[in-house]
C-alpha cells in the first residue's frame, strides 16, 4: 500500500536510523589512544557470525576477553550482522561515514572495498606485515590484494569437498564416492529411476561451477585476471560445465540449480537421501549435527577431471577501515586474530586456520579432507568487479540450463562481458 515516494522515504529513514545508531556507537571509539604506543580506548568489530553459533560464543567468551586481558584498558565491541546484510551495511555505513574500525569480510568483498578507498593499506601501515604474511597460506593472502597493495589479512579459510550419503550410493550398488567425472556420470546412470538425484547444487555462480571448470582443466580468466575470452569459453571450461548440464538434462540433478526457492535445500536433500552427493564446506558438520543428528556424513574429494581435483577457496579476511579513529588498537586486534592462540580457539569450533604451521587436523579431525583439498584449491578472481562477474556468469549459465542457448554460447557471451568488466579494473 506504499506509494513510491513513501517507500523511498522509508529506506532513507531506516538508513538514517542505522546511521544515527552507528554514530552513537562510533562515538565510543573517539577517545584518542595515547601517543607512547600504549593501547587504550574502544574499537568496534563487525562480523557475520550466526546469532547462536559456537563461533560467536568463542568470539565473545574467549577471543575478545583474551585480547582485552593482554591490553588492559581496551574494549572491543563486536556487532553481529547477518551475512546477507553485511555487504550492504558496509556500503551504507561508508556513505554515512560511520564504518566500524575492524571487520571480518568475505574474501570476495575485499578488492571492491579497497577500490572504493574504504580500507587501510596494511602492507605499508603495519611494520610487521611481511612477517604476518609469511605465516599464512599464500592463496589466502592473495584475496587481500588490490593493484599493488594488501588491504587485509586472511582470518580463516575453507573449501568445498564432496559430501555423500552412503545409503543413496548403496541404492546404486556403489560403495565408494565418485572420484572422477566418469564415475559421477556412471553413478547418475545407476541412480536413474530410483528417485535419487546423483548430485545437487543450488546455483551456477562461480562458487558452484568453478570446481567443475578447474577440474576439467579450464579456467575463468588468465592468471593475471585481465581476460576471460579464451579461458572461460575454452573447450576445457565448456566440458566442465557440460558435465553438470548433462546431469541436469537427464534429470539426474534437481532444478534448484536454476535458483528457484521451492526445492529441497542441498543439505536436507543429502541427509534425507534425496541427493546422493553435494559439494559443501566444513561448517556443515555442526549444521548436520543439529538438524539431522542420525545422518552419518561421508566425505571425499571433488571428482577429478582432466585438470585434477580442484576446488574453490572460500573464507574471510580481516580488514581495517581508513576512517578508524583508533587505528593502533584496530591493527593490534587484527594481529591478535592471526595469533596462534586465537586461530586455535576458532579451529576448535569449525573455522579453519590460515596459519601454515598450525596443525588443525589434530584439533579437529574433520578438517583432514579439507586440508587435502586446499592443496590444489583456487580462489575466485580477486578483482573489484567480482560481484558483477559472478552475477552475469550465473545468469548466462542459467539461460543455458533453461535451454535458451548452448553452454558454449553462454560462456562465449559471459567471457565477452567479463572482459569488459575486467578492463575497467
Amino acid at each position: 500500500m506504499n506509494s513510491v515516494p513513501r517507500r523511498r522515504g522509508r529506506l532513507v529513514s531506516a538508513s538514517l536510523a542505522v546511521v544515527t545508531s552507528l554514530a552513537l556507537v562510533g562515538c565510543a571509539g573517539e577517545e584518542p589512544s595515547s601517543t607512547d604506543g600504549e593501547l587504550t580506548g574502544t574499537i568496534t568489530f563487525w562480523h557475520a557470525y550466526g546469532a547462536d553459533s559456537k563461533e560467536i560464543e568463542t568470539l565473545r567468551n574467549v577471543i575478545i576477553p583474551g585480547f582485552e586481558a593482554k591490553h588492559p584498558g581496551t574494549d572491543v565491541q563486536d556487532v553481529a550482522v547477518p551475512y546477507d546484510q553485511l555487504h550492504q551495511k558496509m556500503i551504507t555505513a561508508a556513505a554515512g561515514g560511520d564504518l566500524p574500525d575492524v571487520m571480518r569480510a568475505d574474501i570476495i568483498w575485499v578488492p571492491e572495498a579497497a577500490k572504493l578507498g574504504l580500507l587501510e593499506r596494511l602492507d605499508t601501515e603495519m611494520p610487521d606485515f611481511a612477517a604476518l604474511a609469511a605465516k599464512v597460506f599464500p592463496g589466502t593472502l592473495e584475496t587481500n590484494k588490490y593493484q599493488d597493495g594488501y588491504y587485509g589479512l586472511p582470518l580463516d579459510t575453507n573449501t568445498r569437498i564432496l559430501m555423500y550419503n552412503a545409503d543413496a550410493l548403496a541404492a546404486a550398488g556403489v560403495s565408494a564416492p565418485p572420484a572422477t567425472f566418469d564415475e559421477l556420470r556412471d553413478l547418475a546412470d545407476k541412480l536413474t529411476g530410483k528417485d535419487i538425484y546423483a548430485f545437487a547444487d543450488n546455483g551456477l555462480s562461480g562458487w558452484n561451477v568453478l570446481p567443475w571448470i578447474w577440474s576439467a582443466g579450464g579456467d575463468i580468466t588468465d592468471p593475471t585476471y585481465t581476460k576471460a575470452t579464451g579461458y572461460l569459453n575454452s573447450p576445457e571450461s565448456v566440458a566442465g560445465v557440460t558435465l553438470l548440464f548433462d546431469l541436469f538434462q537427464a534429470s539426474q540433478m534437481p532444478n534448484i540449480v536454476l535458483g528457484g526457492t521451492g526445492g529441497v535445500p542441498t543439505s536436507d536433500g543429502l541427509a534425507t537421501g534425496k541427493y546422493a552427493t553435494i559439494l559443501d564446506g566444513p561448517w556443515m558438520y555442526p549444521i548436520f549435527e543439529a538438524s539431522h543428528p542420525d545422518f552419518e556424513l561421508q566425505v571425499g574429494q571433488v571428482p577429478a577431471g582432466p585438470g585434477g581435483s580442484v576446488s574453490v577457496v572460500g573464507g574471510e579476511d580481516v580488514v581495517v577501515f581508513r576512517g578508524s579513529r583508533n587505528k593502533a588498537l584496530a591493527l593490534e586486534f587484527t594481529r591478535y586474530l592471526l595469533s596462534e592462540e586465537a586461530q586455535l580457539e576458532f579451529a576448535k569450533i569449525g573455522q579453519m586456520s590460515v596459519l601454515r604451521d598450525l596443525d588443525v587436523v589434530s584439533v579437529n579431525p574433520t578438517y583432514r579432507p579439507f586440508v587435502e583439498q586446499l592443496r590444489t584449491a583456487k580462489p575466485r578472481p580477486p578483482v573489484p568487479a567480482w560481484p558483477k562477474i559472478d552475477d552475469l556468469l550465473q545468469r548466462r549459465l542459467q539461460a543455458a540450463f533453461r535451454g535458451e542457448m548452448s553452454v558454449q554460447e553462454a560462456l562465449d557471451a559471459a567471457a565477452e562481458e567479463i572482459d569488459a568488466l575486467l578492463a575497467q579494473g
Partner: protein, 340 residues
C-alpha cells in the same frame, strides 16, 4: 449547507477519501448537484489571514516530515540518476547525462521486471477489489460475530510482510509444501508436486495469491466504510421495484461506491508496482531472474553492484510510470462521472 444529506456522508469520506474536500454528495446517481464551499467552522470568516495561518500551522509538522523523508530524497534520487554515483564522502561522481536512462530503456532485465509488475498488477488489483467487495458485502450483514470476522480479515493487513512471505514460501515449497500436499495427497488433483517457485509464471501466481490475500482486508474495510454511505431507501425502492440482490448490488451499490472504488483502485495500482518484500523473500527474483520486479531490480543494482546512478534512474522511471497511471485512472474516473 442544509442540502447535504446527513445519511452516511461523514462515514463515506472519513477513511475512504482523505484528500477529498468536504465529503461531497455521496452517490452521484441521486442527481446532479453543484459542489458547495464548506464553511470554516472555527470563525465567521472575518479574519481570513489568521485562518490561513492557523491552517498552515496545523499542516507544518506533517509537511516538514513529508519534505524531509520524501521530497528531499526524491530530489536527491533524481540528481543521482544523472551521475555515475558513489555515495561516499569525497567520491568523484561523473555527470553522465541521460546515459542511465538510455541503459534502462535498453535493458532486457529491466523490461522483464516491468512486465512482471504489470502482470502482478492486472491480477492482484481486480482480485483484491472483487474479493474485498465480496467480503465487505458479507460483513455488512448483521451476522453473529461480525466483529470477529472483520478482525480476522484485517489480520493479514497488519501482519509483517516478512513473516507472511516466509510463510508463503513454505506453503508453496515443492517438496513438503502445504499447497502441494493438498494437491497431491489431499485431493489428488496432480500426481507430482508442482514446482511453484521454480518457474516464472507459477512463481508469479504464488506471489499474486499472497498479494491478494494480504490486501483483501484493507480493500474490504475501505469498501465497508463506503457501503455505509449507500442510502437504504434506494435499496428499498429497488427491492419494491422487483430487483433481486445481485441487480441491487449492480445498479445501486456499485454506482454509489464509485468514488471509493476509484480511490481503492488507484491505491492498489500504486501498491502493486511497489511489490518488493514478498518477491525478495519468496523467490529472490529467481529462478534465473525470471520473477524480478522493478524494486528488487533497483535494490540489486544499487546495493549489490553499487550502481547508485543506474538504480536511481530505474526508480525515477518507475515513479513516472506510477504517476502517469494514477493520473490516468483519476481522469478516466472523472470523465466517466461527467459523462453521466
Amino acid at each position: 449547507m442544509t442540502a447535504v444529506p446527513t445519511v452516511g456522508a461523514p462515514a463515506a469520506r472519513a477513511p475512504g477519501a482523505p484528500g477529498r474536500p468536504g465529503g461531497g454528495p455521496p452517490p452521484r446517481s441521486l442527481g446532479p448537484r453543484p459542489l458547495r464551499r464548506i464553511r470554516w467552522p472555527y470563525g465567521s470568516g472575518r479574519r481570513p489571514r489568521a485562518r490561513t495561518l492557523v491552517a498552515y500551522a496545523f499542516l507544518a509538522p506533517a509537511f516538514a516530515m513529508f519534505l524531509i523523508v520524501m521530497l528531499v530524497p526524491i530530489g536527491k534520487a533524481i540528481q543521482v540518476s544523472f551521475y555515475d554515483w558513489l555515495p561516499f564522502p569525497g567520491a568523484e561522481n561523473t555527470w553522465v547525462g541521460l546515459n542511465n536512462y538510455q541503459r534502462a530503456l535498453g535493458d532486457p532485465q529491466f523490461r522483464l521486471s516491468v512486465v512482471n509488475a504489470v502482470v502482478y498488477m492486472l491480477v492482484t488489483v481486480p482480485g483484491q477489489i472483487v474479493l474485498g467487495l465480496g467480503v465487505a458485502l458479507l460483513l455488512q450483514n448483521r451476522l453473529p460475530g461480525r466483529m470477529v470476522f472483520r478482525v480476522l480479515f484485517y489480520l493479514p493487513v497488519v501482519t509483517s510482510w516478512v513473516v507472511v512471505s516466509l510463510l508463503f514460501r513454505y506453503l508453496f515449497a515443492t517438496d513438503g509444501g502445504f499447497i502441494n500436499w493438498v494437491l497431491v495427497e489431499g485431493i489428488g488433483l496432480v500426481d507430482e508436486p508442482v514446482g511453484w517457485l521454480d518457474s516464472r509464471w507459477t512463481a508469479i501466481a504464488a506471489l499474486c495469491v499472497l498479494g491478494i490475500w494480504k490486501g483483501i482486508g484493507w480493500t474490504a474495510i475501505i469498501l465497508l466504510a463506503g457501503l455505509t454511505g449507500v442510502p437504504r431507501e434506494l435499496h428499498e425502492a429497488a427491492a419494491v421495484d422487483g430487483a433481486g440482490y445481485l441487480r441491487r448490488v449492480w445498479h445501486v451499490t456499485l454506482p454509489a461506491l464509485r468514488r471509493t472504488l476509484v480511490f481503492v483502485s488507484v491505491m492498489l495500482v500504486i501498491g502493486s508496482f511497489n511489490v518488493f518484500i514478498s518477491v525478495l523473500l519468496m523467490t529472490q527474483g529467481g529462478p534465473a531472474g525470471q520473477t524480478e520486479v522493478p524494486l528488487t531490480y533497483t535494490y540489486r543494482q544499487t546495493f549489490n553492484f553499487l550502481e547508485f546512478g543506474y538504480g536511481s534512474a530505474v526508480a525515477v522511471l518507475m515513479t513516472v510510470v506510477v504517476l502517469i497511471l494514477s493520473i490516468g485512472q483519476m481522469m478516466l474516473a472523472n470523465r466517466a462521472e461527467r459523462g453521466e
